[in-house]
Symmetry: C2
Subunit: 201 residues, 2 copies
């Protein structure tokens, strides 16, 4: 059985819980409390030298890091990843967009605010605002013309972008000006076997 090393409230970790659940794949979860430095211990660094969650242990001693690489690995050969080369590349385009242009702004803001560091990071939070708004605008434009991110169906591109977008308000980003994103969030939430970010599995 897969062992899944995760920090429960992290959206990056939630992505994997959600896909594993929707794929009906059993797994054992192991909480790594990043607030207590548990992702920087020698033991954890032997699993992921970059010291970040999530990490999936595929078989004893065989580790995979980076949430979106794990999504790709788990979804290959399933309905969650297209087989067409160009569509697959479009999925990856959105996964890289998520990690480069979205997560560093929206997820990082949410982390600071939800861990009680809003005052300490006030200036940094202000600096994150424009980037987060820009990412939401790119998503809104796409979702005004499409139901999902790739191929007009639910894929891991939607899972990756859903993880932090649907809790963007916890990072101080107001989605009321993004009606197409709001409608897409509802479409994602009504997929079979959907679980919320707070649901224990």
């Amino acid at each position: 059985m897969y062992k899944f090393y995760e920090f429960f409230s992290s959206g990056n970790c939630y992505k994997i819980r959600l896909l594993l659940t929707q794929l009906d794949i059993p797994f054992q979860r192991i909480e790594i409390n990043i607030l207590k430095g548990e992702s920087r211990t020698p033991e954890f660094l032997s699993k992921n030298p970059n010291g970040r969650t999530p990490v999936l242990e595929i078989e004893p001693g065989k580790f995979l890091a980076e949430s979106n690489a794990i999504l790709f690995y788990l979804s290959e050969g399933t309905d969650f990843l297209p087989t067409d080369s160009f569509e697959k590349a479009q999925v990856l385009q959105w996964l890289f967009f998520e990690q480069y242009s979205h997560e560093p702004y929206i997820a990082t803001s949410r982390f600071w605010i939800t861990t009680g560091k809003a005052e300490e990071y006030r200036e940094a939070l202000n600096q994150k605002r424009a980037g987060g708004e820009a990412a939401l605008k790119v998503m809104e434009k796409h979702l005004t013309e499409h139901q999902y991110f790739v191929g007009e169906r639910y894929t891991i591109a939607d899972i990756a972008l859903f993880a932090y977008t649907h809790v963007a308000d916890e990072g101080g980003f107001d989605l009321s000006g993004f009606p197409a994103i709001q409608a897409w969030i509802k479409r994602v939430q009504t997929q079979p076997k959907h679980i919320s970010i707070t649901q224990q599995v």
Copy 2:
């Protein structure tokens, strides 16, 4: 023939020039001067709504953005991307590492310094130092034990990480303390049909 929209001095764009050249794929390059705002025009935004280079036009009107998604697309079915599922996922792990934990520090520092903005961004450059050093340490550790990043052979993971690592000095990062990285750089530079970042194609 592919049309390739790029900003020549960008490492993200160089990745694609290098792979296209090593794959013997002809392409037409179109310079997008990001310093003159050419990646934010309505015309360019119709190709990539995220307003970034590189963009590959695969056939008229069919665009792919995000350097590492383009690398994946071009390398599928070639020796530059493993076919084994786990090795392919490991390649993706390093591609996401590159975009999240490496590029935002080393490439951004290089951009500010090489475009004459070092003074203006002095404080931000200082803030980028620790993240860049941490990424280089993760690479050094891996390369102390391995010749290449995945499967002991040259793949797009090496291309992606080579692009900004071999010019890290232009971002103010000294590689003299990273002998395994230096040896790997030489291995990459001696691959068949290698081109340098300044070589016109």
